[in-house]
Symmetry: C2
Subunit: 427 residues, 2 copies
């Protein structure tokens, strides 16, 4: 039975397959490349999880060496946990000093929301429209990106406008951040207050949404005025991906009360973490219910995390994201000469190209975005299409992506976009 | 800074440390043994996660060989996922035929509860008192084992009596299972019905609770009559641990609608799975919201799972659990000659010794259980103490535990129990 047919019959049918209806089998990977079963090489602009590159030698070595030594749960004491925790905490401002390990970004956000409720003594959660924070029951309740007409919302969750500078309600207002914060304030039931506000500083699944620089200061003020906890989800934006900042929250000049990390942290090994202020950890402790996990912080995960953080520094991957990312962004901006390329957003290796039916109406153009993705694949370049309207071409490659890779990507897009426009009779 | 002090300052303070206040540092592990930093060897009767044994050569080899080849998310196609899924499905009756992969037992149970709500179109969840099903927000709502006076319960969750044959409300009644089912029925709001009933067929954290043979048939009937989904959590009981059965649900002669597995499945690699009936997968599909995970079902997890399932078969570990487990249980039963050893429960490598203040009152005796654990540790044998009253000595070793290991364990308990009783002036 072919893999696609097998999946249709025996695996969760809701999980989509990349490049359906004509997906391909990946046989191996290396750095910023994937190879299919016939040996064809693809430039990978999709796998942000493979942050330090697919199959990185130091990462492989660390895990391979740990495997025959020890792997047990973190109720026992072992050295690797201290090393990984110290390395992780060094990446944060000193206010963020207590780590709880978990297995996935979803688990980390789930725990962060529980901590916010416990610390605040409240229930009301706030999130942004188009947000995605995970697949557990409670993280789905703050993930409007995923909702459809069947989804049952919670009365304890309030959805706030997405502060998109391209399509957001107040995008044309000079004081848009103040206006969003005022609208937020109006939605708060002052008797119930706020338990927590969870946000990706720059939204990923929503389509690389980059709010204005003063946005989170305004929003954060409202959260704290109403007793809430500020939770920054850095699962997709962290670890130097933005180039200019190691964390996306730094761009906005506020230190959140809780930060969650995942994906890049384990480079494909299932590990995530919640980093919080001391007082939040203390509330959780006073609450008196143990958070226990069979895997979180285990020695194999320690080995993965230590290697990832070392490699980010040793290979200066943040600097690479800044330099090469800037170069790619300039190239993307030039693509706006084409009809239907409406906007380019993001920083470093976190970029999006917004494909529209009409540059004035800014109406999303999903079919065109998907056809460009498909045409690029035929040329050996893998890019993804995402956003609530599935019209944003996303660039979020392994951080070892080079200037030569950038040239290949830009050259490919410069060739396939006009070709697809012609095929669709759009030029 | 010492590891314990480091943890106190920089790690989630709610996670307990085994053998506090005098824990020890584990340096390496092998099979059914742990070694501390001074080279002292301990017989491990605790790590049920290390199902096929710590650092199993075939398991290490499988993961080590996969590491340099490929590790990406399951939206791409690769061969390992099919192999692991096929191996897993072969372990279940044919009604259970659709797999969704996840990272932890908590994630698997979280998803199972979401699926139950989606399939039934209802919200009401039922669980057993003393149950533990995970650390996510919704799994905590069905985990009374963890609750304290601060915990905020959900009005959508109803807790049912634990059908313990040693302390349960109806333990003296011939028709106890019918009585529990009748009480269950009375708790149901017939307008709201049931979304799901989640249970460990044999409860682990609760203290190795083994309900009567006809219990789940009676309970399951009530669930289905009210439109609910039957969810068996086999995270701690599955994969042959019971010896007589590969799954605990088999002991009770009913096929659940959903089964969740974890722990043993990855032998320490964070991987879990939800296995369900076709119609439940179809409801989930019709619901139309994608369940996506960065790690679930990735090639590394496939390598771990395939090795675990192969080794269980190749080394006849289920048979070993039956033979050696029966032998240990006979030895445990002989310990009932001592004052305060009140009950012995369980099957195979899933056994519990209930320590009581008085054999007639059956009042739990936590301090004695903990002192026995401590004394055994000093003799090089690691056993755990659990149960809602923290008075049940638990035996849940790696499945490679031998008859010689059993003799060491039994010999140790036969020596330390009278010694501790004397020290506590109980004899």
């Amino acid at each position: 039975m072919k893999l696609v047919d097998f999946r249709r019959n025996f695996l969760n049918p809701t999980m989509s397959i990349s490049y359906s209806p004509a997906p391909f089998v990946i046989a191996r990977s290396e750095g910023q490349y994937l190879f299919d079963e016939n040996g064809n090489k693809f430039l990978d602009c999709i796998n942000n999880v493979s942050h330090i590159g697919h199959c990185h030698p130091k990462y492989i070595k660390n895990i391979q060496e740990q495997l025959p030594v020890l792997n047990t749960n973190a109720r026992f004491l072992f050295d690797g946990l201290k090393e990984a925790t110290e390395k992780l905490l060094r990446l944060f401002p000193k206010e963020l000093r207590v780590v709880t390990w978990a297995c996935s970004g979803s688990e980390a956000n789930d725990l962060a929301l529980q901590m916010a409720k416990i610390h605040s003594g409240r229930n009301q959660l706030y999130c942004l429209a188009d947000a995605y924070h995970g697949h557990t029951d409670i993280t789905m309740l703050v993930s409007p990106y995923k909702w459809n007409e069947h989804f049952r919302r919670s009365k304890d969750v309030t959805v706030l406008d997405t502060p998109c500078t391209y399509r957001g309600a107040y995008r044309r207002k000079e004081n848009s951040s103040q206006l969003y914060a005022e609208k937020f304030t109006k939605k708060i039931d002052s008797k119930k207050g706020i338990a927590g506000f969870i946000y990706e500083p720059m939204q990923s699944c929503a389509g690389q949404i980059v709010p204005k620089d003063d946005y989170y200061k305004e929003m954060g003020r409202v959260v704290h005025e109403h007793g809430g906890v500020i939770i920054a989800d850095e699962v997709q934006t962290g670890f130097g991906r933005l180039g200019k900042n190691f964390w996306a929250f730094e761009h906005y000049g506020i230190v959140p009360d809780i930060v969650t990390v995942g994906k890049a942290l384990g480079n494909g090994f299932p590990v995530s973490a919640v980093i919080c202020r001391k007082e939040i950890a203390e509330s959780f402790h006073k609450y008196g219910i143990e958070y226990a996990s069979s895997y979180a912080g285990n020695p194999l995960s320690n080995a993965a995390v230590s290697a990832v953080i070392d490699v980010i520094h040793d290979q200066k991957l943040q600097e690479n994201a800044r330099e090469v990312g800037d170069y790619v962004k300039q190239g993307f901006i030039k693509l706006m000469k084409f009809n239907h390329v409406g906007d380019v957003r993001g920083h470093g290796f976190f970029l999006g190209i917004d494909i529209v039916k009409n540059k004035r109406s800014r109406e999303p153009f999903k079919e065109l975005a998907i056809n460009i993705r498909q045409a690029a694949r035929e040329e050996g370049v893998l890019i993804s299409v995402d956003g609530v309207n599935k019209n944003v071409i996303k660039f979020k490659p392994p951080m070892v992506f080079t200037k030569e890779n950038a040239d290949q990507l830009l050259d490919t897009l410069n060739r396939v976009i006009p070709k697809v426009l012609r095929q669709m009779n759009l030029q």
